[in-house]
């Protein structure tokens, strides 16, 4: 998404340029039709005009110009800008140009969420920070039921525009934070898919001379080439507020966050700038995730890594694109470094260690643990001098995220939560003091957890227990928190049913679920996944949990889930998948090879509790023999 957005931001202003050239500030309120209609006929001219417009903007804008092409309408027309700046309330500090940049970037793109932050920062320090950082554009998550950038943009927009999806940016309008909040509230509790931005959110731009525009464009390109940064959610409240929040700090570790779609834009922006406008209209493919067989990237990632990982000696060739590390080397190493890792907050560190050791597992649990750790970290955070809270805090969060990713690759739910958090940070109005902002963020996180996870689970349970009848035999695979809640609730309601738990190696999570269910008094049967054909005869319903649901309905879940679903399909048993909406993602994936998580191969060779099975002891290093431990989030299956 981001490259596309970026390109759009580059091109659209040019396109929109035409429409924006209407001088009066009222124009900004006129809404989408004008810019859109006027923009289409003359894309080519528009691009140059946009550039020129940028260059010709007055000093506040010229500050912006290096930052980025995609400056949207907000930045462009000089007189408007001057008038805007004068009209603008306090929230438009000098940093506002940045906001505009980002706004402009996001405008016109499908960028509903986040990540499209242009690293456009006029400050030198920013450039230095961002130099040399690769930016990865990540596809935006499909449904963080958190309203995406689209909403933000609409919030920015004139109040006349319905919140549903207009993304034209009106330069002048600055909505109070409250407005955005209400939008958020509305959609907060619902299971919602990514709002779709209209393809053309065209900011209004003033016309400038062609030469000026071209000059501006060149300057922007140069600036963009120098600066690459990670995008964050575009704030909608005010262009100024947005800009400051969105000015992305340097990414400490790119690969991990890249891998988790937390990245973005700059490279794509650069690309976008060079492409002709027609091409920009097309959707650009999201930047591919980090592939670990790309040597240069891996080297870069290693240099920035906090956790030292030694690569597994016996790597399965099919999975070269995934990280395969020796397990067991991280934990003691990290433990010894506990007191030396300044950048990482102790709570985050603790959570990371819990991930490595497997104490916390499961999409919801990991997400909640991470968010609560971030709450603690935010509580203890204090802005260093000469840095803005939003930028610095986002940088810190990025570093935490990359650390956690090194401990264990992020799950999709965590990725969505991180995106939400960054968006919130970006949307912080600049009027808030530090303590207020921190409290604000903490309550946001609290709200996210209670709404998107806890409340969502309650709704799921309430709905799913209606599917359970007396006399049912329910089958479940592994240990899913949602399914567990459903079963327990149904049992409390007094329904008579039996549960069959199918477990798979090597994690054997079903045993934990078994304990909990038997403890609560449910009558259970336990079997290995191999016996699923045997046991499916007596099963009436299958309940499965999911780590994520992808854009075409593919369910991404623990390895073995697809086998269970397939056998259930063969026996004509209904399969119900329970997944909270915040785990939805717009990624596409055909099979389990493209993206997966590889676990410790030793877990396969050692069979716990069965000392007689020791054939593979010491075999992990033989040259012909490899052990492949596909663990979490491995199976995806689609409509059978």
């Amino acid at each position: 998404m981001d490259p596309r957005r970026a390109s759009r931001t580059v091109s659209d202003p040019k396109i929109r340029q035409v429409g924006f050239f209407a001088p009066p500030p009222d124009r900004s309120f006129s809404g989408p039709p004008d810019p859109i209609s006027t923009s289409t006929p003359n894309p080519a001219a528009a691009t140059t005009t946009a550039a020129a417009a940028n260059t010709s903007s007055p000093p506040p804008i010229s500050d912006l110009s290096p930052s980025g092409n995609s400056l949207s309408p907000v930045m462009i027309p000089p007189p408007r800008h001057s008038s805007d700046t004068t009209h603008r309330p306090v929230p438009f500090p000098p940093v506002s140009p940045l906001r505009r940049d980002t706004l402009s970037l996001t405008v016109g793109s499908y960028n509903n969420n986040n990540n499209n932050i242009i690293s456009s920062s006029p400050t030198a320090s920013f450039y230095d920070e961002s130099k040399g950082i690769t930016v990865k554009v990540s596809p935006t998550p499909a449904a963080s039921s958190f309203p995406g950038g689209g909403f933000d943009l609409t919030a920015v927009k004139a109040s006349s525009v319905p919140a549903s999806g207009l993304t034209t940016v009106s330069v002048v309008k600055t909505l109070p934070p409250g407005f955005t909040e209400t939008i958020v509230e509305k959609v907060g509790g619902s299971v919602e898919m990514q709002n779709d931005l209209p393809a053309n959110s065209k900011p209004l731009k003033e016309r400038t001379s062609k030469a000026e525009r071209r000059a501006l464009q060149e300057a922007q390109r140069a600036a963009k080439a120098a600066a690459k940064a990670e995008g964050s959610k575009l704030s909608a409240t005010t262009s100024g507020a947005v800009a400051s929040a969105n000015a992305k700090p340097t990414k400490a570790t790119k690969p991990s966050s890249q891998k988790n779609d937390s990245a973005t834009v700059a490279s794509s922006e650069k690309k976008g700038g060079d492409r002709p406008p027609e091409k920009d209209r097309k959707k650009d493919a999201p930047h591919p995730r980090m592939q670990y067989d790309d040597k240069s990237r891996v080297e870069k990632a290693k240099r920035r890594a906090v956790v030292k990982q030694t690569e597994a000696r016996n790597r399965v060739e099919l999975f070269r694109h995934l990280p395969q590390y020796e397990h067991g080397t991280q934990l003691p190493d990290l433990e010894s470094k506990f007191f030396q890792l300044d950048p990482v907050h102790p709570v985050v560190y603790k959570v990371g260690l819990q991930y490595i050791s497997g104490d916390i597992s499961g999409g919801n649990a990991r997400c909640i643990a991470m968010l609560q750790a971030f709450q603690e970290a935010i509580k203890d955070y204090s802005t260093p001098d000469e840095k803005t809270l939003t930028r610095d805090l986002t940088a810190k969060i990025n570093s935490y995220v990359s650390f956690l990713n090194e401990c264990r690759p992020l799950s999709i739910s965590m990725g969505n939560a991180i995106r939400f958090l960054k968006n919130r940070i970006a949307k912080l109005p600049l009027t808030l003091s530090e303590s207020e902002a921190k409290a604000f963020l903490q309550s946001d996180i609290e709200q996210f957890i209670s709404e998107k996870i806890i409340l969502a689970d309650k709704v799921i349970v309430k709905h799913a227990v209606t599917k359970i009848r007396d006399g049912d035999v329910l089958l479940t695979h592994g240990s899913s928190s949602a399914v567990e809640m459903i079963l327990l609730h149904a049992h409390e309601l007094g329904k008579q049913f039996r549960v069959v738990i199918v477990d798979s190696r090597p994690k054997l999570e079903g045993q934990l679920l078994l304990r909990r269910l038997v403890g609560k008094g449910l009558s259970c049967t336990y079997a290995n996944i191999n016996a699923v054909s045997y046991i499916m005869h007596e099963v009436t319903r299958v309940f499965l949990g999911a780590s994520s649901v992808l854009s075409n309905g593919t369910v991404y879940s623990r390895v073995g889930t697809a086998c269970v679903a397939m056998v259930a399909h063969e026996f004509r048993v209904p399969v119900l998948v329970c997944c909270e909406a915040y785990k939805f993602h717009e990624r596409v994936q055909l099979d389990s090879i493209c993206s997966n998580e590889l676990g410790d191969p030793d877990a396969i060779s050692k069979v716990p509790g069965r000392e007689d099975i020791n054939y593979l002891d010491g075999c992990t290093n033989s040259e012909n023999l490899q052990l492949l431990n596909l663990i979490s989030y491995l199976d995806c299956y689609w409509q059978l």
């Binding site: 008094g521 045997y534 390895v559 086998c563 389990s592 509790g609 069965r610 054939y615 596909l630």
Partner: protein, 342 residues
């Protein structure tokens, strides 16, 4: 009712005996026909033989070989013999012993052939490996089968380079052992868990497995979890090849095979006793047992899921397997009844 091969071999031996008997009578009938009108001493015995031959031919469908070998005339001569001639009595007294000795000798040699066949079926099957495994293929196997091992090694001998995924086959984990053996022989092996079969099968060219028994309809009884692999293979259109010796071919049709042809093993292989007792601790006071653990040994795979059988007599499709039964078994042996002691 788990070791079907035992019953198979018993039936095979019975069939051998019957076959020998049949061929003896056929020879005798031939001899009789040639000397028709001559000695009548043989008649009495011939009558018996004729009757038995006639009975056999009327009761059981002759196998293909018998049909091919039998000449059309012999059938017409059965009832034309007349009984006379006492001069044959003398010879009768000598010949039965010799004949029965001869008969037994033949049966014993046939049984020895059978033993030899069973012992060397791997090699014969392995010779067919080159036809089916080619360069740069990826093969998936499940659990451990000696036939499969020899099959793969034969292909390796012929310098076909291929990759191999071995699904471990819980709860016996025989896959581990197979992988170790194959890796020692130089094959590139990767061990995967059974749950990962669906994930990996999209990258696999062929699934080759060994089974416990082959039923008359072409279905197979294999290690538990094989049905899951077969379903995944069908879904991804991957050929599911079963390598088996003919001694595993069982003349029975499966009826509710998950229950009737299955064997339940100790649940501790699935859920350790410690874990089990921990779970049971929770239910103190509630009374009724709430925890069942199932550990079946075998899985039934219906014939629709099997693409090919590779046996020591060649490759066959599941729809053809019932014809092989006639070659190896006699129909009156299908249900081995115990005669009441009287």
């Amino acid at each position: 009712m788990s070791e079907l091969a035992v019953g198979n071999i018993v039936r095979r031996v019975l069939h051998i005996i019957r076959e020998e008997d049949h061929s003896n009578t056929r020879d005798a009938v031939e001899g009789f026909r040639l000397s028709v009108g001559g000695d009548n001493d043989y008649i009495v015995e011939q009558d018996h033989l004729n009757l038995s031959v006639a009975a056999q031919s009327s009761l059981c469908r002759p196998s293909l070989h018998a049909l091919l070998e039998r000449s059309p005339d012999s059938a017409t001569t059965y009832f034309t013999a007349t009984t006379e001639d006492d001069s044959e009595e003398k010879r009768k007294s000598l010949d039965p012993n010799a004949r029965s000795l001869e008969f037994r000798r033949k049966v014993i040699s046939a049984v020895n052939d059978l033993i030899e066949d069973i012992n060397t079926c791997h090699l014969v099957i392995a010779e067919l490996a080159v036809e089916h495994i080619h360069h740069n293929e990826v093969i998936l196997t499940f659990g451990r089968s000696r036939t499969v091992k020899e099959f793969l090694c034969a292909a390796k001998e012929k310098k076909r380079s291929f990759g191999l995924f071995v699904a471990e086959g819980a709860p016996k984990y025989q896959g581990h052992l197979l992988a170790k053996e194959l890796a020692a022989r130089g094959l590139q092996t990767t061990v995967i868990t059974d749950s990962a079969v669906f994930a990996m099968i999209s990258r696999v060219n062929m699934v080759i497995v060994g089974v416990h028994a082959v039923m008359a309809n072409g279905g197979v009884i294999g290690p538990v979890g094989l049905n899951m692999v077969a379903l995944a293979a069908r879904k991804h259109a991957v050929p599911f090849v079963v390598v088996t010796g003919t001694h595993k071919l069982c003349p029975l049709y499966p009826n509710n095979p998950e229950v009737s042809l299955n064997e339940m093993r100790s649940p501790s292989e699935v859920l350790s006793f410690e874990e089990f007792s921990d779970c049971m601790d929770y239910r103190i006071g509630t009374g009724a047992p709430q925890l069942h653990v199932g550990n079946p040994s075998f899985d039934y795979v219906p014939p629709e899921l099997v693409s090919l059988f590779i046996t020591d007599i060649g490759g066959y499709y599941p729809s053809y397997m019932y014809r092989l039964i006639a070659d190896y078994y006699s129909s009156d042996d299908l249900v081995i009844q115990q005669k009441p002691a009287s």
